[in-house]
């Protein structure tokens, strides 16, 4: 499986200041390491020049004809991966938070067949330098505790948007994907369906420009919705794989 077709999905909403940089780091990485990562930007109906910049620089992009939100945008990427027969899809933020050098770490367990999904985690490395607000860390820990109750598995970085999946899950995600709070929900769903989920340490940078999509005042509402969604994951019936 050394020549797996790998697609990097980059959802972008109003990322005109970051998007070109993000894509260029992947192109440079490919040249330097002789890797063959394809990538596609999903322009989620941005009102700024994100789409224009991509077209002018010949960056492969799907322009959503209307804003869908993170879940709908990422799912479009998974559909693209499914229709084009990719073996591995990597979700990668367009804002420069994720490190292209870590991609090989998160796809390695999938290539070796040791996992169906790999989450790039900020919290399991020894030299953890990621700085995040106190409220956010507490939130992630609470979600982690609830997920432990529901799936019997400890996932440390529950909201990480840096993940890789194999073709089985690409099909699964192309068929159905939650529109909101997708990371903790899909992880719990996959665990309930008996897929193998692994966490590997990655480095994440501070945002280079723009504003993060999670606003502080929305945190309580976010937590309530995630907890409710996770309870629903617990009581729903799933077809188990294997």
């Amino acid at each position: 499986m050394n020549n797996s077709k790998i697609l990097i999905i980059i959802p972008a909403y109003n990322e005109q200041d970051n998007i070109l940089n993000t894509c260029n780091t992947i192109i440079k990485y490919n040249k330097k390491n002789k890797t063959n990562y394809d990538f596609i930007v999903i322009n989620d109906g941005s009102s700024d020049n994100t789409g224009k910049i991509c077209h002018e620089n010949n960056i492969p992009v799907v322009d959503l004809i209307h804003n869908l939100g993170i879940g709908g945008a990422v799912q479009t990427g998974y559909k693209y991966a499914y229709y084009n027969n990719y073996d591995i899809a990597v979700q990668f933020d367009g804002d420069g938070q994720h490190d292209v050098n870590c991609i090989k770490n998160i796809i390695e367990p999938i290539i070796k067949g040791q996992a169906d999904m790999v989450i790039g985690s900020r919290f399991i490395s020894n030299n953890n330098t990621f700085k995040s607000t106190f409220a956010r860390r507490i939130g992630i820990r609470i979600i982690s505790k609830i997920m432990k109750l529901i799936t019997n598995r400890k996932i440390y970085d529950t909201t990480s948007g840096f993940r890789a999946i194999n073709s089985l899950i690409i099909k699964d995600f192309a068929m159905s994907y939650p529109l909101e709070y997708p990371e903790p929900i899909t992880t719990s769903e996959l665990l309930r369906k008996n897929y193998i989920v692994k966490e590997v340490p990655v480095e994440m940078n501070e945002r280079k420009a723009g504003v993060s999509s999670i606003k502080t005042w929305k945190n309580v509402y976010y937590m309530l919705n995630v907890i409710l969604s996770l309870i629903v994951v617990r009581i729903r019936r799933y077809k188990r794989c294997q």
Binding site: V62, D63, L64, I65, Q75, T76, K79, Y80, Y83, L179
Partner: protein, 114 residues
């Protein structure tokens, strides 16, 4: 029940029926969604025409005042109407999302072929 209140109820019920018919005639809702409104109009009409009968029912059901029963019934109906609307809207959101995704992917494919 005072006669003028009964007249108000009857007028309101008839107005509701006319309104529903006019919406139906313009084709703005499918017939099945109009059923609930005809049903509600029918209940209001019933109260206006035979209040004694409705009074009897409310007494049998244990309501002290008939008006309370009417309010309770309408409230219950509205709860179900709103819930079914939530389901309809959510289903539509799903379909619209699917459309946006597939159309956008098709546009991308077309661009590639140019």
């Amino acid at each position: 029940m005072p006669i003028n209140l009964r007249i108000y109820l009857i007028i309101f019920a008839l107005f509701l029926v006319l309104l529903t018919f006019s919406i139906l005639r313009k084709g703005r809702i499918p017939e099945k969604y109009s059923l609930i409104w005809f049903f509600i109009a029918f209940i209001i009409l019933l109260v206006g025409i035979v209040p004694n009968f409705v009074d009897l029912i409310s007494e049998l059901l244990g309501f002290e005042v008939m008006a309370n029963m009417i309010t309770a019934i309408i409230l219950l109906l509205m709860t179900f109407v709103t819930m079914s609307l939530t389901i309809i809207v959510s289903g539509q959101k799903k379909k619209i999302t699917l459309l946006i995704q597939e159309v956008s992917l098709l546009k991308k494919e077309l661009e590639e072929k140019k």
